[in-house]
Every structure is written in C-alpha cells, then in structure tokens.
Symmetry: C2
Subunit: 174 residues, 2 copies
C-alpha cells in the first residue's frame, strides 16, 4: 500500500490497547524473560516503544517540516530503555506509553499533513534522504514489528513445553 | 518455563481481546491482504484460529483423557478456513472466535486438570506420543505465533512505503 495518513493512524492509535491486552498484569515469567543474551523481554520492548515516543517520531517529523534536508535527525538510542525503565513497573510503562501516544497523535493531527507534505524530504544521519511519509510508515511498521517480536519472545518461554509439536511451530526457531 | 495450566490460561483468555484490538474494524487493505502467493491474510488467520477452536484443542484434550495412547487424534485441517470463512465478515469471525474461546476455557476448567493429568499421554497421528501438557502449551504458543504472524503480514503492506528504513526493519524480509 501507499502510505495514507489516515490508514497509518488507524494502526498507531491501537497499539497502546493491543499492548495492554497482551501483557498488562501478566506474571514475570511471561513479561520479564527474553530470547537469550542481548535480546529483549516484553518489558524491554515496551520501554523501547516509550523511548521512540519521547525522542523519535514526532520530533523527527517536526525537523523535516522545519528544516527539510538542512538538518539531520538526532540519532535514536535503541538501548536507552535499559537505563530509563529502571525501577518502573510494566504497568507504569504501559500507562505512560498510552499517554504519550495519545499526545503524539494529537500533535500529528495539529501538523495537518497533506499528501504533498508527506513527500517533503528530511535527512537521516545514516540512511540519507527520507520523506515524511516514509517516517510515518516506519512508525507504523515499527509498532507492528515490536508486537510481532513480543509475541515471538513469549512463544519461546514454552519452547520446551510443546514437546514434539516444536516441529510445526517455526516461530520457536526464528 | 514448565507448563502451568494457570499460566497458559492467562494467555489463552486474552487472545480474543488482542485480536479485536489489532484488527477489528480495519479496512480491507490491512486485513484482507497477505504476504504473497499461498500465504495468509489477517482474515485467513482469524478463520484458522476459529477452526482450531472447533476441532483441535479441547476435542484432542478429551481424546487423551478418555483414550490415552489408544486412539490417535483426527488430523487437523490447516486449510479448512478457506471454505468455512466464505461469506463471513471479519467481525463475524472475531465474534465467533471470542464465543468459542470462552466455551473452550469453560470446558478446560471442567476437565479439572492436575499436574499429574498434564503428564497423561496421547497419540498424534504424525508426531507420535505427546502429553496433555504439551497439547496445552502448543495451544498457547499457537495463539501467540499467529498474532506474531498477523502483525508481520500487516507490516509488509508498508514494505515499500518505509523507503530506506527497510534496512532497519528485519520483519519486512522475514
């Protein structure tokens, strides 16, 4: 599909609810366990999404609108959540994510992006020229991909418990 | 983790709500599109989960409890949804899945499975000896893996729209 702002928002506005339905209130065995060394637990993933809300998507959209290709984005720290989430419960992270996402979508609406503005170019510090539309599409795919990752991580907690059925569950060896 | 019935149920009871949050009410571009030939759309996946609820999980649990390894399960038709979903809207499939899942969990409760009973053996037509606990763990992983698949399929609808960010999104080439 081509990006249409309305279609992207249909996904972005659902993510807090999806995350809540998936992991809110679950015990640590489901939410604090990862896939092995240097991988992320559902708790880490929520912290990462929160970080994106604070310093990635809307701030970058504004840089494109204000500076075009004249100013590169700040690099995004993919590991900031390990420090920032410290001492916070999953419930706190989920609530804060829901709040910040709501604010992001309000800000997005206020930007009054037209199809023409979605073509406007900005400068990614590593990837080079990107458009505002590509940024919004990436925001959307980023949400969905981390829900996909989170459910895969949860599958792996039962990787041994499924016994011979492992053969039919490619998710367990991905 | 070892399978604990209570932990498995914590996931199984959430799935209808997760699916609703994810795809209920979305336009066809998000829910009727797949990943290419012989792959499944979100709509197909919901139909498949519904089929599992009708003929796989609880029926197989009962066969293990009643017949042990003396009677193999009926083979499960992984493609039955293509015929069975015909003419039904996604909303109808989601509602029916929620209803059948609720019934399945009531039946599961009525089976009063103990840790000892979870060790009871049954016969899978292809995989051979399996236990009731492995069946319940597989049911749980099956739910989560199809949520993971569904969100991956949705990501791919914006595979081109993300432009250069594709490089950072391994989900798009999986």
């Amino acid at each position: 599909m081509e990006i249409k702002l309305e279609q992207a928002v249909q996904i972005l506005e659902r993510t807090p609810g999806v995350l809540n339905q998936l992991v809110s209130g679950l015990p640590d065995g489901w939410v604090m366990t990862n896939e092995g060394p240097e991988t992320w637990s559902p708790y880490d993933i929520v912290g990462h999404l929160l970080q994106g809300e604070e310093s990635d998507w809307i701030p970058r959209a504004k840089i494109i609108l204000e500076h075009g290709e004249g100013r590169a984005f700040e690099p995004f720290d993919r590991f900031a959540q390990f420090e920032k989430s410290k001492g916070k419960t999953l419930a706190e992270l989920l609530d804060r994510f829901a709040l910040l996402r709501q604010r992001s979508l309000e800000e997005l609406k206020e930007l009054r992006l037209t199809d023409d503005l979605l073509q406007k170019r900005g400068l990614h510090p590593d990837l080079g020229t990107v458009t505002l539309g590509q940024l919004i599409a990436t925001w959307t795919v980023h949400d969905l991909s981390h829900i996909s990752q989170m459910t895969r991580v949860m599958c792996k907690q039962y990787g041994a418990a499924v016994g011979p059925w492992k053969e039919y569950l490619p998710v367990l060896t991905r």
